[in-house]
Amino acid sequence: MNAPLLEVRDLGVVFATPRGAVHAVDGLDFTVGAGEVLGIVGESGSGKSVTLRAIPRLLHANATVSGQVLWRGEDMLALPAERLRRLRGGQVAMVFQEPMSALNPVLPIGQQIDEVLVAHTSLDGRARRARAVELLGLVGIASAAARLAQYPHEFSGGMRQRAMIAIALAAEPALLLADEPTTALDVTIQDQILQLLLRLVDELGMALVLVTHDLGVVAETCDRVAVMYAGRLCETGTVGAVFGGPRHAYTDALLRSMPGTGTARERLVPIPGQPPRIDRPVAGCAFAPRCTHARPVCGTERPRLTDWAEGHASACFAADELGAPLVGAVA
Amino acid sequence: MRRISVPLWLGLGILALLLLCAAAPQLLWPTDPLAFDFAALTAAPSWAHPFGTDQFGRDMLARTIAASSVDLQIALFSVVFPLMIGTLIGLAVGWYGGWLDAVFGRLVDLVVTFPFLVLVIAIVAVLGPGLVNMYIAVACVGWVAYARLIRGEVMVQRNSDYVAAARVLGYSTARIVFRHILPNALRPVLVYSVTDMALCILLGSSLGYLGLGAQPPTAEWGVLIADGKNFFTTAPWITLFPGVAIVLAGLGFSLAGDGLADLLEVKR
């Protein structure tokens, strides 16, 4: 693999709230290479969206970000504001879950694309318009020239998401950060958007970080996956390795809890308990209270990320019990 | 239990002081508010008369305290009746909607076209001056604001799933409206009513000043100010202290209203 485009080292995000500090992300490491698709999965409160927003420093002022976010070797967290602004929307672009709130409702789509082109390219007016038409065509919006004058409310949900992707692509970014881009969409539209993103990754050689809660989306869309729980990285590796033989009790339980093609109407194997609360610090492994493999050490000591194979690492004391292929549970 | 914020404490403190004034005026300042002291006509504030005296030598502190019971009564009655009428109408309009809502809309348009005070003065002018007629006038005009607030809340709550669940469970309309929707629709109204009390004290004082509300010799802050207006240049304290009392009462109700808004906020 070539040198990583983005390297996140020991990322931590702490929110100051009236009820005390909330450790939303804690000691996170991952890398993304050019042309690579990384999936970050987790349920609510796992810190996956916060992680994504911390990369281009989009978090609110009550968040304290620690660690390093290396963009081509340069720490984005230490970058002066002016340099960062040129990077954001230029080299690093972002797509959000709710296109309706991410798009400006009172500006035509064409003008919103134009803004990005003005900020990040030296094209003249005529060339910018041509580029905007080209971009809408690229994301599969028909009769693009006419669509440029339309407002977000005149677009359907899927079309809005395409428009937002077009805006993100305007400055030809090398990295696209996508925060649950298809969660608000229907399956058939989700399918179209995911296929569009994959086509763009292939054609433009872009890197993609895809945050989602849907394991199926990861399985079909990503090269590598990072599984998060309560702000921490549980497991990371190629999709095949992680989903084929998980080495973290949480990943394992999550995969087993999904309704697969196993016997219909058989009881599922749920994860007991409720999703974690991150407003109090946890001493050992955050998953231990819900874990069927938990040992005494899990409650006191925090497991370290350990390599199991080339590019497959997990932070779990019970990892040696796991790793067997999930026959039947996943198919 | 939720924490009571500092502004709420402050507001409640002021209101408690006013209540004490109204309930036991003799306890705070034993001087008789109606006793003439011919030795001290329009006397400036002193140890004997901290707020000074008026042209008849009546003690202004005692009169300001005595007026508080009338003004609190105004605050209460000019809010309670519009609140009850407005809530019932708002519930009906919000729940049934349709033509009822259309009629209500026109009625609201009609009422809000006139400034509140002008409309109240017009009605009092027809009915004749006095506190009771003032309450009737305020109720005639004031219910609209409450009904609009309740109507809006009911419209939101009506479409929520817990109301749908109650309907699927076959509950009666009365049960759904009064037991399920009303408690969830009441918060903005209660908050508004407390702030409205501040406005009503101002209104009562204004009408008292104009001679349309409380009638002399009833001590009422607006009446006191009206009494003192001829002596404003020579004895400003006659108008000043009742004015301060009005401001203080207004502040107390406003702070309490804001605090109440936070306290009643429902957790989702």
Partner: protein, 328 residues
Amino acid sequence: MTPPLLEADALTKHFPGRRGLLDMLRRRERPVVRAVEALSLDVRAGETLGIVGESGCGKSTLARCLVRLHRPDAGVLRFRGTDVDALSEADRRRFNRQVQMVFQDPYSSLNPRMTVRAVLAEALAVHKVVPPDQIEGRVAALLDLVHLSRDAAERYPHEFSGGQRQRIGIARALAVEPSVLIADEPVSALDVSVQAQIVNLFLELQERLGLTLVFITHDLRLVRHLAHRVAVMYLGRIVETGPTAELFAAPRHPYTQGLLRAVPQMAAGQGRVRRAAAITGGLPSPLAPPPGCSFHPRCPIAEPACSTAVPALAARGGAWPVACRLAG
């Protein structure tokens, strides 16, 4: 074959759409959202019927028609053979004791100002399910049934997580001892790790109480796991209905085929899959559904004739009915 417990016969539900001032001035007719269009369906005692479709296909409107939250504009809803519309007010309540609903949003479906005890006790008291002195015991029994601890009774909804709230909603529906439960997307607002708990609860309750379940969802994986039979909806109509396993193995309608292809598969070790999108285009507006088969603008095998007549839901030489003139 057992006779249907709940039966929809050509149900239709339209909603008035919005009309702007300009439309009024131009004397345009008020637009109509055709949420459910002449839809027929039967639910048999003891089974789980899955209803799948994308947002805007009318499945939630159908759910609300089945519990009589909506009064249909046309068509008949029958429960045990009786027309529900013809029932008196008191009998309508008796119908609703039999047919209950579980809602999608665990947050808005519980009254935030009532404790769990108040919610359950109210249902028990209003319908006189048990004498007043036994209400306390029944509340505890209901909490046991949905696996909530008994001290939950004293608490308010905001003190619970989404999954626990959904359990409270299920307990509320079960309080009146219904025979049919209409569940509208009951797990889609929950975290993946909690969904399985609620799915298991449904399976368990069905076994213990002999409940009939109508499970409405956009999640095909869930339907495949839970439902004996499935009905696929598109723009207010059922396009295909049949036994779940067989239908999912060999879907007959092009929409069902595309829908199944669009669902991300978990197949292990697969990684990135590049292919053409399963179904192109978006859902047409229910304000102006396409003429003929409403799927034809997105259909890969559509012929000119598809845009003229609405295809009926019929067997067409197969084992289960399908509404496609090209299926056979």
